[in-house]
Subunit: 404 residues, 2 copies
């Protein structure tokens, strides 16, 4: 085990671990460990987590519990994947209950041979698998305000990373035969509001997927069961859930969720629309707002980085409010568009520290400071906030946002 | 989308997909799709799978439901990960319910500074993440017999692939200071039988992990919550669950599960012991025993390959009972010790076909035929069967084992 610069082997013993005497004493302490006197729980058909684990998605209150967002508890995340049960949600009309034996995907419009495919038929086609982030375009909308969200779940939790399996959309489009003049694909979901988004044909012919698998099993209902469009690296809203229709057209639909919503009002009063691309972003998940360090000593500072443009090239950490930066260690393999876990051994010396991370992706894009982002975009925006998040670690070990 | 040799674009339309008329007819068919007239289900704190999904682990009946094995439904697998809820189980005294706030890991024996660590202390240490297979040493024990198991779950289902996060054991051993003369580490679990295995010190100083994370959250209780020893590439039994004690010794313990069990009785009456290493293996998961093809036409033949020695280099497929072999397409990235999903477009022509896969790993090791394996090992063995599995696809589309 190679230790990163700035720590030494000696630090670890200072965690507070109980060094116990050797020989007989050690034996006694070992034997004193609680051992159940009876058999444990039986084997089961479909397992659950420990009753001691309490991490849940957090939901912003809405008038109807069927609409709104629920946020992944990133403060409890380990590794690079998100459990399907904790994947963020963003629904506009609730989660429909769909019988996969009755569901169909229709591909029509400006095509030579319209097709209606069952889920079973789609599962017979050549498939691909990809570990990939989905991030809501509205993730971190709290961070445009003067008073930002107090913890990592509420500020950055509309992002999750899963392994997805499905059929390349390009394959389906080759089957139907795209007619000259077609330039857009209108994707529609089977939820009550028939959520729809306009996807440029070039993307649909590129890396878009029609997914049926998530993390080794079928998509979860909250993620679009039984079929979901996936547009890698693009805002989550374009990855239409409960996909049942793809229509080829010569223009976008200018749907509600690409005009009044999911567009960015700039300082000059004009709005950016079709801002599909998600940029490089990162956040420290430990220590983060709401957590408490039990005391001075060594810790592993850690977090997640991702980019809609490809691989994470580098993550830099400051522990002095941005005056100096050091490189974090990145977990390999760094997969393009997936979460990259970063880590840095760090000693909390009992004095206040202001910490943050910034990601640099393989395109050379550098995650901006909130101030630099706001200088360009103003504060009318809701979507596409990818600025850094600073946490204040106070002398008493409590952690807050920088306003706290 | 590049099609593999042996298929053509035209095949896909023959899946049976309903080609629908263009224009008005297509519009009508689209509109006719069922749309719910009301809001769906609300957002939730910790999600579940669709009620239409029924895949479960299968359990061989035992006198006590707390002991035995449960098998991952590989026939339903997609991608390369196993959902934690469907990870195979092998328990010797049931699943203990452990409060992580009270659990400790003691490291003692031939060490300079015995240590007792809480879970919270372990989680502060430098960590690593790795996607990796766990396979029971007894996986495929059914295949030594003349009459083999009828489906992929019961024949190959004691293997699963997860993303694991934890602390390198080498780091913990450096902290306690291994004394000269120590050559083994005895790992003991906190289950009622205190399952224990002897691990050579070289492995413990190599890539062994003390894991607390699985697939982005805490280990599941059935996988050792809150702490599990992981010995990458080795038989699952050595990856002791509910880990609470590591004792450094100068000899192995010759425990029950490394003498009377988890050893291999050879044809000459001698037994191999400490056969930790898992070799290259693969199996076709679709089509596989118990499934039925709805009729002739194009399909995606697919399965999983893995090796305890590193990356999968190549997977070969036969559809004529072993007379000829073609290369399957391998899903990238191929991670060492992880599942590699393989795929091959295949046309079922309505005549009986006998299909199988064989894996070749980066060490050059070739998965043997059952006959070649049995020629060396005899049929007294229970453990370490890694022969090929042949499926018979009958003219009527039903799939059985080759005896079927």
């Amino acid at each position: 085990m190679k230790h990163a610069a700035g720590t030494s082997r000696r630090h670890i013993l200072r965690v507070g671990a109980a060094a116990i005497g050797g020989g007989l004493l050690a034996e006694q302490k070992t034997r004193a460990l609680e051992t159940p006197g009876r058999l444990g729980a039986p084997l089961g058909p479909y397992g659950d987590r420990s009753p001691f684990e309490k991490a849940v998605r957090w939901r912003r209150e809405t008038r109807t519990p069927e609409t709104g967002s629920s946020f992944t508890p990133l403060q409890d995340s380990v590794g690079t994947l998100t459990p399907s049960s904790l994947h963020y949600e963003r629904h506009h009309a609730g989660i429909p209950t769909i019988d996969p034996a009755r569901h169909r995907l229709v591909i029509h419009g400006l095509v030579d041979r319209p097709l209606s495919l069952s889920v079973a038929e789609i599962r017979r086609l050549p498939s691909v698998t990809r570990i990939m982030v989905l991030e809501c375009g509205g993730n971190s909308s709290s961070e445009w305000a003067a008073s930002t969200a107090p913890d990592v779940q509420r500020s950055f939790g509309l992002v999750s990373c899963s392994e997805w399996t499905g059929v390349p959309l390009s394959l389906l489009l080759a089957e139907v035969g795209v007619r000259p003049g077609a330039s857009w694909v209108i994707a529609e979901g089977a939820d009550a509001c028939r959520m729809e988004r306009s996807i440029p044909l070039a993307k649909a012919l590129g890396d878009s997927l029609v997914a049926y698998g998530q993390n080794g099993e079928a998509l979860r209902p909250a993620q679009g069961y039984p079929l979901r469009l996936l547009n890698p690296g693009w805002e989550g809203n374009t990855s239409v859930k409960w996909l049942h229709s793809l229509k080829l057209t010569d223009q976008p639909y200018m749907a509600r969720d690409e005009t009044s919503k999911y567009s960015d009002l700039m300082p000059d009063g004009k709005a950016r629309i079709f801002t599909y691309q998600m940029e490089a972003k990162s956040v420290i998940t430990f220590p983060s707002g709401g957590q408490t360090l039990p005391g001075p000593g060594p810790y592993e500072l850690t977090g997640l980085a991702w980019s809609g443009r490809g691989r994470i090239e580098r993550v830099e950490i400051t522990t002095d409010g941005g005056k100096s930066w050091v490189h974090a260690k990145l977990q390999e393999p760094r997969l393009p568009l997936a979460f990259t876990r970063f880590r840095l051994p760090w000693r909390f010396d009992g004095h206040e520290a202001v910490i943050a991370s910034r990601a640099i992706d393989e395109s050379g894009y550098i995650q901006p400071s909130p101030e630099a982002l706001i200088a360009v975009r103003g504060t009318n925006s809701v979507y596409h906030f990818n600025g850094m998040k600073f946490w204040r670690v106070r002398a008493d070990g409590t952690v807050t946002n920088v306003e706290g």
